[in-house]
Amino acid sequence: MGVKVMIPTPLRAYTDRKDSVVVDGATVGELLDRLTVNYATLKKHLYSDDGKLRNFVNVYVNDEDIRYLQHEQTKVSEKDVVSIIPSIAGGGVE
């Protein structure tokens, strides 16, 4: 089963410039695992050293943020489109 994963511009440098890729998996976590196997250099940019998704990474299944679903255990099918969309935060010293 292949599920389409949309890649935002900042991460395309690590997916051979592809804006979407199709990977196998039954959950969001499996898709991301497969994605980082296929594109090894992507892993350190998606995940921090403690194995958590980095702060800027938001993952949507269709239009739903996985934080409001079952997080990385959210089930997916080939009818779904998974999107990685950055949020950009920052600011000066408090």
């Binding site: 900042p10 440098a13 702060n55 950009i88 935060a89 920052g90 600011g91 000066g92 010293v93």
Partner: protein, 152 residues
């Protein structure tokens, strides 16, 4: 290296002045040839942070998505982001580092007592350990002409 023209730089500074003492933010769109990024236009984004906008900014996923779609319509891509540091130097904070997106250019403009001061551009190191300052070239010419020249 990041290239942008005087008009883009002026608009960034103006945005930073308008939102002072709060932080402004926006998206840089343009092209990348592998060695340098060229900014063709800037997209002002409303700082979505609900509190402490004097020290924090947020571009939501929805706003990011809008910017990427807008860039695609123009035949270009997202090159990075800009934001202001009111009464604080134009260098990344630890909070900037903790939330940084790889590959992208981060223009930071410091605003001192309401007036724009230093402008620097930064790129996250590949291991996410720190930002590295990148060369910022300011050129003459209009956005679209710059892009067409680049395409040619």
């Amino acid at each position: 290296m990041l290239r942008l023209n005087h008009t883009a730089l002026h608009r960034i500074k103006l945005h930073a002045m308008q939102t002072y003492p709060e932080e402004c933010c926006g998206v840089l769109i343009g092209r990348d040839d592998g060695e340098r990024k060229t900014v063709c236009d800037i997209l002002e984004i409303k700082n979505a942070k609900e509190e402490n906008r004097a020290r924090r900014f947020l571009i939501t996923p929805e706003d990011y998505k809008w910017a990427e779609e807008r860039a695609r319509e123009e035949g270009v891509d997202v090159m990075g982001f800009y934001h202001s540091h009111p009464d604080h130097p134009a260098r990344p904070s630890q909070f900037d580092l903790d939330h940084a997106v790889p590959w992208c250019s981060y223009i930071i403009v410091s605003v001192e007592a309401g007036l724009p001061a230093a402008v620097n551009s930064w790129v996250l190191m590949d291991d996410h350990s720190e930002f590295s300052e990148e060369q910022l070239d300011v050129l003459d010419g209009e956005f679209i002409r710059q892009c067409k020249q680049y395409q040619a």
